[in-house]
Symmetry: C3
């Protein structure tokens, strides 16, 4: 495709399979991008201002990048990551870029390497592999491009052939950027998603105040259980009015509860008044997943559960740099017992959509595929986070397909705030899926016409349908 | 092989490996079938009546099929699955068949798809891929064949080249069908297996009454621990007189105990009189695995442990449709601590045969292969249930062979009640094993003459030896 | 390479990938061996006496071999494994060798088979595959070679092109053989490693006496916490004076603690005086990992953690034959919670080196790669023990590279006491890594020049750097 990314990248080496993979991919390579879950900033689309310098765009906010460099002894300060205490950090984009280029070898064999080569080669037209020697020229090229109108957010959105993209906003967000996008008359489809962690998780910073604010925004009495639930309903409706078709929930575990009304109300009271212990706080989060699922039955929002990350594993790094600095570590995650209360309540509802994610691949074949392969409400989200990679996506298909099939999966999520890399991420997912399908065809487990149909569905249709976009 | 199943199905795409796999497979493709563990109905072989209509034979009883359709919103009633309350369900075989055909795409990439194509193409001579358009013609073809004498159970048994098949009967079964088979003079070898869950598991429906019945059948006093054990000995002898060479145990976990005699007797007393709590009931099941192993040392029955399924995960579905309706979900399963009491008691006995199964693939390389690779009493059962699939069997070999070798495994189990699919299942296992062996040969990790020997052993010899058939 | 081992062994079958793998391997095949962690006997290098007969060298001490034979009913006595009660066991090397040859088929598909064919074919020049028929001739050939001066330890060391090898000695060892090596003037580089289990683990046989002895050796008061720590410091310095660059810790779990000074002192007091319960003894082991890490910060020893083996699973076998008889079984192992106290204390230190191993492959992608991919102090040891195999090493790369990269791994450990097999083990690791790199190149995920650089680093550089050799 470019000097940096071969046109056969990620296809199997065996010639017959490669030929099949090429043919399958060829027919879906240019399909529009449906991005049903991610973290791009709606402000970009609203204001349509130029992106900042190459380092601020491509390095500083990317946790995959700074965690790897940090693991090899590079201080985050040198990469321009802001400190909470306001102490100085590197601000010279070129210096940050050079430091990155000097360590670019660390990314060999990682998705970051693929994404970056795609972005540099395909989007910015850089031809030379990134290295200390070529760092300055690459920086200059990227910086020049970013100054051009064709590289502003809306132009890129269109060039990327994005049919629809979902951002993620907290329950208290006023969605002003979404409103501005809508009022601007621009036709790009940007929708929000409802992420209520700040008003659902009693351990969230400022939880009590957040509930007060939720009450103000909705006119509901969030001091009472029913008022609190009504406030969620109101915010969900508000989010739906800005295109939301899904909610998203990032809990430490997949635990759910389905307490009787008065029990739930009493639990809420303890949580609301700050008297709940750790077990009660966990139970409240668990209860709220089921409450959200019940609301989804009414309003049609698809419920996404992203469990199993031990957030901010290093307290020293949290204190120095804040959240989301690469110190979120996956843990063993149970689904079979954890989801039972929710499933007992609403799992048999065919109109409900609950999408399960995991960071614990040992659950794919053992728990997730068997659950999604029988409960009508459940579907499997794609390989997530550390597993959003060539090997990770391959393992996902190999370990889920035989029990859950393809049609209990939901296509690809890019799940990213790295806007320039979105085409790369979707392209990689399409290639890995086509490589998997090519193997099934080559081994006569699937006919070629079926593989073509599936390639189209995995690249496009399933995401639209599962997320109701 | 047929229009629906390619002669190279499941062989690696790479030509050299494919050639090796073909050669290995060619020499074992027509070996007799040894089916040491399964759930076909002995009544079929006893009465030798025609099988019912295509849907009643191939769709309605198949939990792989109805769970997948249910996961996509198809009610079980529409598939003819009987309700416990007697409410009407679909009884028109053709209507059920059409519904299945309309959703056949759901099975792409699953073992069900392979099995069904095999059965339709190879057994019934259907040539067109199943689809809404071809559903009626396929139905008619199958229905016509089923009416022919060549498609009665005994004729199929012989056509399938089954050397021996084991059914599974509860401890209280009178084995009347097995008696009828024996008295019929038919030479097909059908043996039973001893499945005592109903008289071993205090949580089994009607446990106390079952123990009374066990006493009546054996003349032993099942009110006392020693009488109860004697009753097991008597039933095991009775089952052995109908060819049984194995017992089978489907516990929630692999937990075993080895209590002192008086402790065990006291525990039995609590269980027998309904005073045991959940922990005691679990401990009793655990104790009984060790008791069964000790009896195996005396009478030679091979002990099969099938742990780790959370049965009837949905209480609503259990209430509506009963057991075995696709809602059995695998759970994380420990073996190293769980089996220790049994292994401390009898694990070093080289004449004992204990065959371990798992639904938790993460235990293959970590626990099961290291255990079976040292304890003389232990062997590994094949990839089970959701893992009885091309990818599942491949992972089994890749994750167990290097530590346990091939010779601590026991060949293939079809483990099915889907009689027409038995040749398909064995054929798939043979192909997957030959594909694995072909890779070892191609990578010079095994000589070709050894691979041929192994292909024969994996397809035939190991099952006969491990199950003493 | 020889009649027993093909020159393309372990390379992918697909011709393009095989060509790449050959080229990558060709450039590193003859690199010197760096063996940073293992269990060869320093006495061999010190005395340079001939090795004993073939069976005593190649069979009797090899737990991979006798566990497999035992699993198939061969008594350890027949293999010459000494009994603790002094009862007679087989001592005739030829009889043991014949017994092994008769069962050699059990090892098909295992690493033992590969290692043995390498040793017989490449080192001893045996041409015929081992079988009952060829056993005597092979035995004679090996026995003849072993009598030659070219097969004495130092000559083999040089022939094997070992640049440096680490042995492992207990904290109380006087390192007399290392001293003898040093004083001999021989230039072979043999270093020790500090293994303090006997004075760190309260459950170790003779713990209290070991601490007394530790006090005598160091002149420190090991009755007190500070004196005990000083004694460790003194022994570490002593070990460093014999080349040690690492310590090694074989705990049942990866648990760490970081107690305040007085808490730790109080815990030590309970442990020292034999009053600690099981939880306290575990906590003491956990605390000592963190203490060792803190000492490593001062003295630069690399800390290796080898957790997760349930040692001596069979008490009967322990009583009859002692430790290390193949009954060590892996267990599920947590790292994310377990290591947190140590990581909170010193995990961000870029000058610290902590190398993590696992027997629980499910932790590779879920826990270990994400941890090593961000904490500067952490690196991943290679696939260990049962996973030191072709499939095991492949899985290690596939499941760690995308998150931790190659540069948070440390090259290969042979971890063996089987001296003649060391070249085989390193060769296999190089081949498996080159096969993995070849796939990345063939799938255009890595450039060929990068793969060459990596092949060199994985085979040689990373081990030297990570172990500071």
């Amino acid at each position: 495709m470019t000097a940096l990314v071969d046109r056969d990248v990620l296809f199997p080496a065996e010639p017959a399979m490669r030929g099949l993979a090429r043919a399958l991919y060829g027919a879906v390579a240019h399909m529009p991008i449906v991005s049903p879950h991610g973290h791009t900033d709606p402000r970009w689309y609203a204001l349509n201002e130029p992106f900042p310098d190459p380092a601020q765009l491509l390095i500083v906010p990317d946790h995959y990048i700074f965690r790897m460099l940090f693991s090899q002894g590079v201080p985050l300060e040198a990469l321009g990551v802001p400190r909470r205490d306001g102490a100085p950090v590197e601000t010279d984009g070129r210096a940050i870029w050079r430091l990155f280029a000097r360590h670019y070898r660390l990314f060999r064999g990682t998705p970051t390497r693929l994404w970056m080569d795609y972005v540099l080669g395909t989007l910015f037209g850089v031809a030379a592999p990134l290295s200390p020697e070529t760092a300055d020229a690459a920086y200059d090229t990227v910086a020049e491009r970013l100054a051009e109108p064709e590289f502003r957010p809306r132009a890129l959105f269109e060039r990327f052939n994005i049919e629809v993209i979902a951002t993620t906003e907290g329950a208290l967000d006023d969605l002003r950027w979404h409103r501005m996008i809508r009022e601007s008359g621009w036709t790009g489809r940007v929708v929000t998603a409802y992420r209520p962690d700040a008003v659902v998780d009693p351990d969230f910073e400022g939880f009590a105040g957040n509930l007060d604010r939720l009450g103000e925004l909705t006119g509901c009495d969030t001091g009472l259980w029913q008022g609190y639930l009504d406030a969620h309903r109101a915010r969900r409706a508000f989010f739906r009015s800005f295109g939301a078709t899904s909610s998203d929930h990032g809990h430490p575990t997949a635990a759910t509860e389905n307490l009787a009304g008065d029990e739930a109300a009493a639990l809420f009271d303890r949580v609301r008044t700050g008297r709940a212990d750790a077990g009660e706080r966990a139970r409240f989060r668990a209860q709220m997943l089921t409450e959200m699922a019940k609301m989804s039955l009414d309003d049609g929002l698809v419920l996404q559960i992203h469990p199993g990350s031990w957030r901010n594993h290093s307290p020293a790094m949290l204190a120095r740099f804040g959240r989301d600095k690469g110190f979120d570590i996956p843990t063993r995650t149970d689904y079979v017992a954890a989801l039972k209360p929710l499933l007992d309540a609403v799992g048999l509802e065919p109109t409900l959509g609950v999408i399960l994610f995991t960071l614990d691949e040992s659950s794919y074949a053992r728990e997730l595929a068997p659950l999604a392969g029988v409960y009508p409400a459940l579907k499997l989200g794609p390989a997530w986070w550390f597993h959003d990679s060539a090997e990770g996506m391959r393992r996902f298909r190999e370990m889920t397909t035989e029990t859950a099939g393809f049609y209990n999966t939901v296509g690809f999520n890019d799940d990213t705030r790295a806007f320039p890399s979105i085409p790369a991420r979707h392209d990689i997912a399409r290639r890995v899926d086509c490589a998997f399908l090519a193997r099934l065809v080559a081994e006569h487990r699937l006919r070629e016409d079926e593989a073509h149909e599936l390639a189209h569905e995995l690249a496009y249709t399933l995401a639209k349908e599962a997320y109701r976009l």
